[in-house]
């Protein structure tokens, strides 16, 4: 028969293991979704994305490649300005895209970080729209409040975030993803991929010597990479502001609830990440976890009060069109969850994302693949 001490030990072992399983499941869900999205976008696999998702991601991809190609072509044209190659300069100055057709035939665009960034931008856009539709509050009230604090650094970081936010939409109000908003890894890979496509074109169609093409393109890519500043991405600006707010002890429940209410998801994510000691990408996985349980868990772990936490769970669930009974179940689960259990559950999310992935990949406490 199991003694009390055995039972206590088993409980202590069971809880982290259970939460690790949940963490694994949430991460697994997110990563699987990225895999599925990539498969669907590039191989026409099983339909998991909505038509709108697919169209918006395809548009983001076209715009991204187009923008990178334009930047490279401008630099190439500048480098070749003194050469007597009018037909090449005319081709580089034309509006006909070169890289997309070449890249679509390869697996170079199937980069997980790139697909994840596009998926997040589209999801974030849709969720922000839905939140705004149901909200009686004006967007930017919170921003005004932060600007009114009289703290120069916070005001500057707020303005920088608003500027970065403005890159989230195109001129028609559709989601946009600027090259400069890409994570550095994805940015680097995409730049080199587009450069390789241009190399193919220069050599095949304009008989440019290989070495000349390589040198020209390498120079152009390095110049663009040197300009890339990870701090000036949307996530970087949100993290920067959240860090200042955390230092000023301003990330309270109200700030979280208000950021969500206004659909200011970049700040909402970064502020939770700051308070929980988790990376923003991890928090975003929790926010978009289809079971809705991870967000409740992290809110409990950071000591969020019931009124604010259940309001946030309701706002996100409602914006996602979740059934009322499920919303009630999520609120009940939040009520039942002890802070210690929640803290244990999010522990692994506080560690390096690569470690987290590796632990889950190996199968310790997870059911990965």
């Amino acid at each position: 028969m199991m003694g009390l001490e055995d039972e206590r030990q088993e409980r202590e072992q069971a809880a982290p293991s259970r939460w690790l399983t949940d963490a694994a499941r949430a991460l697994d869900t997110v990563e699987n979704r990225v895999d599925r999205a990539a498969s669907e976008l590039f191989d026409g696999g099983a339909p998991g994305l909505s038509d709108q998702h697919r169209a918006q991601i395809a548009q983001l991809m076209r715009a991204l490649i187009g923008a990178i190609e334009d930047d490279l072509r401008i630099r190439l044209a500048e480098s070749l300005a003194d050469e007597p190659r009018p037909e090449l300069l005319a081709a580089l100055g034309s509006a006909t895209p070169i890289a997309p057709a070449l890249l679509e035939r390869t697996r170079l665009l199937r980069e997980a970080d790139l697909v994840a960034a596009m998926l997040r931008r589209v999801d974030e856009h849709r969720l922000a729209l839905m939140l705004g539709r149901d909200s009686p509050y004006h967007v930017a009230d919170l921003a005004q409040r932060l600007l009114d604090l009289g703290d120069g650094a916070i005001a500057e970081a707020t303005m920088a975030l608003l500027v970065a936010e403005s890159r989230r939409y195109d001129q028609f109000g559709d989601p946009a993803l600027a090259r400069t908003d890409l994570p550095s890894g994805a940015h680097r890979k995409l730049l080199w991929a587009v450069a390789a496509a241009l190399r193919h074109y220069l050599i095949r169609h304009h008989a440019m010597p290989d070495s000349q093409a390589d040198l020209l393109l390498a120079g152009a890519v390095r110049a663009l990479l040197a300009e890339h500043d990870e701090i000036d991405t949307l996530d970087g600006r949100a993290d920067g502001l959240a860090e200042l707010l955390a230092q000023a002890e301003l990330i309270d429940d109200r700030l979280l609830a208000d950021a969500l209410e206004e659909g200011w998801l970049a700040l909402f994510t970064a502020a939770i990440a700051q308070r929980a000691g988790i990376d923003s990408a991890g928090v975003w996985s929790m926010i978009t976890d289809p079971s809705g349980m991870m967000l409740g868990t992290v809110l409990r772990a950071i000591g969020c009060a019931r009124e604010a936490a259940v309001t946030m769970l309701w706002r996100i669930g409602s914006a996602e069109g979740i059934d009322e009974e499920v919303l009630i179940a999520r609120a009940d689960a939040f009520d039942r969850l002890a802070p210690r259990e929640a803290a244990e559950a999010v522990l692994i999310w506080r560690l390096d994302p690569n470690y987290r992935r590796a632990v889950i990949e190996i199968g310790e406490g997870g059911r990965r693949r």
Partner: protein
């Protein structure tokens, strides 16, 4: 945060059962408009569901709500806060505005889609009403005037009504004509005008549907309908279209075809669709009643296979039976059981009998359908495992508007009356044997078809 606000919030309070126990006049007015009474359950569904959600979640909930108030919509910003046993309502930004109607263009598209879905042929013409896209089996009609394809009725100044409609590029529907194919097929034509940006009206898309021979005959001699029949026709016309639309819209909400919908709205939509179907069935029954009670009513008697008809009726209702956890034991395949009758009318009677049996059967029950022929009588038997019918009630159920022992309050009370009238009009009869607690056994008899 600066929520939109009026001068002062309109407030109200619900008790734990959702009754409106306190309300400022505008809120009470809205509640009354929605059919509520003083101290009764809050009758504005958008507000009551929000209140329920706030109470269940145990948090204050703010939402934009649009509610109907008579001919107008009212846009509200509502904050609902649980307070003790009840909830408090605070409404700001009270704005009245004209109710949003679907744009006419969408309505026209919707009409066209439905018409296309039911059309047997689709023909296109140019602006001069010459065929540009003939039916696939009549390619020779290309370039011919529409009169080469259809015999059209004349209406105004010896011009066909379609030619008249084309004069103004107007949409038209239900024009009777005869398609010149074989011996001539009576059809109805609906026309959708087609426009191009540069040339304006460029022709019609004609949606051509078969018309039943009887319907065709009925329009030729325009006999003055008796007052009651005219009433029936008008009832059908007046109610069928709005009911169809209500059901289609409610089904669309229920099926979430336009995106996610709140759960309580889905439940309302299901109720609306159910009530709509019930009303539609009632209209059908009333129109049928008008038809069969006319002195000149004659079913189209033909030789039919009762076995096949009974199997079809059982097949049509198998899904509904499964939903009610009832099994239909259809007649097994075998030799045809021939009878004299009107196929559509016999099918109607059998559907009515099996539907009744489903409604009266308990979950897990079985409905047995069998066909027999003896001498010059052919019969279909529909036996259920319901509560049965007492001797004294066995004739009453064939009376008009009798709804004996219906479990769900559905049914017009006309089905069995109409079924028996139809059976007798076809030279047969409809009877029942039953005893309380032993199920009911309906027998439809018809003259054997030999």
């Amino acid at each position: 945060m600066n929520a939109p606000h009026g001068l002062r919030p309109v407030t109200g309070r619900l008790d734990q059962r959702g009754r409106l126990i306190e309300a400022d006049p505008p809120l009470f007015h809205l509640h009354e408009h929605a059919g509520g009474v003083r101290g009764g359950l809050l009758a504005v569904p958008q507000l009551s569901s929000l209140a329920r959600l706030a109470r269940r979640l145990g948090i204050a909930v703010s939402r934009r709500v649009i509610a109907a108030q008579g001919e107008q919509d009212v846009e509200l910003w509502v904050r609902v806060k649980p307070d003790g046993d009840g909830v408090e309502l605070a409404i700001t930004g009270w704005q009245e505005r004209a109710a949003v109607q679907p744009p006419p263009a969408i309505e026209a598209l919707r009409w066209r889609d439905f018409s296309r879905a039911t059309a047997d042929w689709i023909v296109e013409t140019d602006a001069m009403l010459r065929i540009t896209h003939p039916p696939s089996n009549m390619p020779g009609a290309m370039g011919q005037p529409i009169e080469a394809l259809f015999a059209l009725g004349r209406q105004v100044d010896d011009l066909s009504s379609i030619v008249v409609a084309a004069g103004t590029a107007a949409r038209f529907e239900d024009r009777d004509a005869v398609l010149r194919l074989g011996a001539g097929i009576p059809v109805q034509i609906a026309g959708v005008p087609m426009f191009s940006e540069s040339e304006g009206f460029v022709g019609y898309q004609l949606l051509v549907s078969r018309r039943s021979v009887r319907a065709a005959a009925a329009i030729r001699p325009p006999e003055p309908a008796p007052l009651d029949a005219a009433f029936g026709n008008q009832l059908s016309q007046a109610m069928r279209e709005p009911l169809d639309r209500i059901i289609a819209q409610a089904d669309s909400i229920f099926g979430r075809g336009d995106g996610p919908v709140r759960r309580d709205y889905i439940a309302y939509a299901r109720d609306i669709a159910g009530a709509g179907r019930h009303l539609l069935a009632l209209v059908d029954d009333l129109v049928d009643l008008q038809t069969i009670e006319r002195a000149d009513f004659r079913p189209e008697i033909d030789r039919i296979d009762l076995l096949d008809t009974a199997q079809r009726a059982a097949g049509l209702l198998s899904v509904r039976a499964a939903d009610s956890q009832v099994v239909i034991d259809a007649p097994p395949p075998g030799l045809p059981v021939l009878a004299q009758g009107d196929f559509r009318r016999v099918l109607q009677v059998l559907i009515n009998l099996i539907s009744n049996a489903i409604r009266h059967s308990p979950p897990g029950g079985c409905i047995r359908v069998r066909c027999e022929c003896e001498g010059d009588i052919a019969a279909v038997i529909v036996a259920d495992s319901g509560d049965g019918i007492e001797d004294g009630d066995q004739e009453r159920i064939f009376e008009r508007f009798e709804r004996l022992g219906l479990r769900d309050g559905t049914g017009s009370g006309l089905g069995l009356y109409i079924s028996r009238r139809l059976a007798r009009a076809m030279g047969g009869d409809l009877g029942v044997d039953s005893a309380r607690g032993q199920g009911a056994r309906f027998v439809l008899t018809l003259p054997a078809g030999a």
